[in-house]
């Protein structure tokens, strides 16, 4: 791992995530056993102590996510990893993190739900949970890798976004990508851009809800910082009934994400301005799209796609552009329709067709996407 040259490895998605987290500077991990995320905690427990990091297996997901809150305020870059049921348990604290502007990375390796569902099988059912899982007004950031290489890259990016915007970031992956084994190239460490949170100057006193991202002191540095997820002013003093303080602070915390949606939202796109049919996909499902598009083009159908590397904030501009060219958009998802409605909202007059598959973990096949591309395109 410690190398100034590019190195190539054969890794599982969950393992690549851990390698990236450690390179990004993660030095505190707390988690609770859950399939299909366990390899992350297991590898973390091996790697972190070697770099003076702390690994804790906590008593439940509530303790896990709250432990990473404390460690983040103590000055560490922190992460937890879980799956749908654990992610649900963490939602209240994700709201705390958002309101207190606590940087951290939460990996959600999606499995089949609702309820216990199918614990070891792949799904994409947590898209809306990653956006609206906690109560109140907030703006989520969620990234969706579609390869082991991208698991590495987006984990680094998740930490960078968390630090840059002082906010929780969800790495929304799935059982297929997490357990997939592929070749991964880790570039020379000096070529990997690492962002660290902005620290306050000695005379700073305002650490919350500023128009731009506020500097973040650590506890024990002499700033006497009062951290609370109750409505608070810029100095951390509670105002639990004042509408103007609440509006000012909560708007600012949301706007620091919303106003930078173009910086955060990232897509891979292909042929989006000249296609008859467009496909919007993300995560494991997008892996079938390439083959379907190649086949469609061989058959003379101009096809393009937008692949969401960032699911939230929703890359609206790219999808709109695709919708302007294509008369039909296809949205394959391993759920009963979640990103579909976002695409529909952005697509205006274009026809939007969902392809949904749930349960058992079997992926949507290229042929199923191709059949939908061909329908109405003789």
């Amino acid at each position: 791992m410690k190398s100034s040259a590019s190195n190539t490895y054969f890794l599982q998605g969950n393992e690549a995530c851990v390698e990236a987290a450690v390179i990004a500077g993660c030095r505190f991990f707390a988690g609770y056993p859950i399939s299909p995320a366990n390899e992350i905690a297991e590898r973390m427990s091996t790697l972190l102590p070697k770099v003076d990091g702390i690994f804790m297996q906590m008593e439940d997901e509530l303790a896990s996510i709250n432990a990473i809150m404390g460690a983040s305020w103590a000055g560490k870059k922190t992460m937890t990893a879980t799956s749908g049921p654990g992610f649900s348990l963490m939602q209240e604290t994700i709201g705390w993190a958002f309101m207190t502007e606590t940087p951290c990375v939460i990996v959600d390796v999606q499995r089949v739900g609702p309820g216990t569902g199918q614990a070891t099988k792949c799904a994409q059912g947590d898209v809306m949970q990653s956006r609206w899982g906690t109560h109140g007004d907030y703006s989520a950031i969620a990234l969706s890798p579609n390869s082991v290489q991208e698991m590495f890259e987006l984990t680094i990016r998740a930490f960078n976004l968390a630090e840059k915007y002082r906010t929780p970031v969800i790495l929304l992956t799935d059982e297929t990508i997490a357990h997939l084994r592929e070749q991964v190239t880790i570039p020379p460490l000096e070529n990997i851009r690492i962002i660290n949170r902005k620290k306050p100057e000695a005379e700073d006193k305002a650490f919350f809800g500023l128009e731009e991202v506020a500097p973040m002191p650590a506890i024990g540095e002499g700033f006497n910082v009062a951290v609370t997820a109750s409505t608070h002013d810029e100095y951390g003093v509670r105002f639990t009934a004042d509408p103007s303080v609440h509006t000012r602070i909560v708007r600012n915390i949301n706007d620091k994400i919303r106003n930078h949606a173009d910086d955060i939202a990232d897509v891979e796109s292909y042929n989006i301005d000249n296609c008859q049919v467009g496909i919007v996909s993300y995560g494991c499902t997008s892996r079938a799209v390439h083959e379907a598009v190649e086949e469609a083009e061989r058959k003379g159908i101009e096809t393009g796609y937008v692949r969401l590397k960032t699911v939230w904030p929703f890359p609206e501009k790219a999808v709109k552009r695709l919708a302007q060219a294509a008369k039909k958009l296809i949205v394959p998802e391993m759920n009963l329709g979640q990103i579909f409605y976002e695409v529909k909202r952005a697509a205006c007059s274009a026809e939007v067709i969902p392809i949904n598959k749930i349960g058992g973990g079997e992926l949507i096949a290229p042929e199923e996407i191709l059949a939908e591309i061909e329908r109405g395109n003789p």
């Binding site: 505190f28 102590p49 303790a63 432990a67 990473i68 809150m69 460690a71 604290t93 003093v237």
Partner: protein, 278 residues
Amino acid sequence: MMVEAFSPRKYMRDLKFPFCPGCGLFSVSDAFLRAVHELGYKDLSKFVFCSGIGCSSWVPSPYYIGDSLHTLHGRSIPVATSVKLVRPDLNVVVFGGDGDIVGIGLGHFIHAARRNADVLVIMTNNMIYGMTGGQVAPTTPLRTKTTTTPYGSFEHPIDAARLAAAAGAAYSARWTTAHPNDLRKSIKKAIQTKGFGFIEAVSQCPTAYGRRAGFKDIGEMLKWFKESAIAVEQSKKMSEKELEKRIVVGEFVQRSRPTLVETVYAMIEEAKAGAKQN
């Protein structure tokens, strides 16, 4: 050598506590700050405060001049545990209520004691959910009238101080607000003890508890604490029936065993040494 006189204002922001007149939290805060003063801390820069949700969680946040993490309901202990792991040089103190610590947060409480996490938990036990208006708590004595037990509570209360001791705490003591000196001395001892320290301060809530439970004023509640208090040693000679309406006070455990900070950092050193060998 002149000893500087105690003044709570030295440690507190220029803000007024929001508690009801006669609230026991004034006494608990006073006992804590006096303990800090007597240990020679001129300010709270060597302390970090973690609290959850409930009246008692507001004691440090934002009233104490120091770092405070006001966390979610029941979640102060895991936050405190990680803060201490990252900053073993700081005293990490949790302020919480009975609902926070042994209601919604009970799992974390037991595990922190089991791990011997190096934090001090000061639990003000007012035997009621005070902030939300007086609902029955896991600490409410049997047959007490509350807003959700209009016919009297029908569950047995939890014995938090004994539970902490059984789960592995390094120090556990219970006093009441009618025992301010003992409370202060125990807090001092707990701050100096390595590992998981637990202080249960049985406290009056005249607004949400006393009023419905039939106490005319605060004096009556303090009298109740004084009269029903019985020392740990003495209680050992009494039957369960005899102890039914008593509050057992004193120290339940004081012991030394490896703390979480010690075991985690020892493991890190071993892992690093192993990595060098390879």
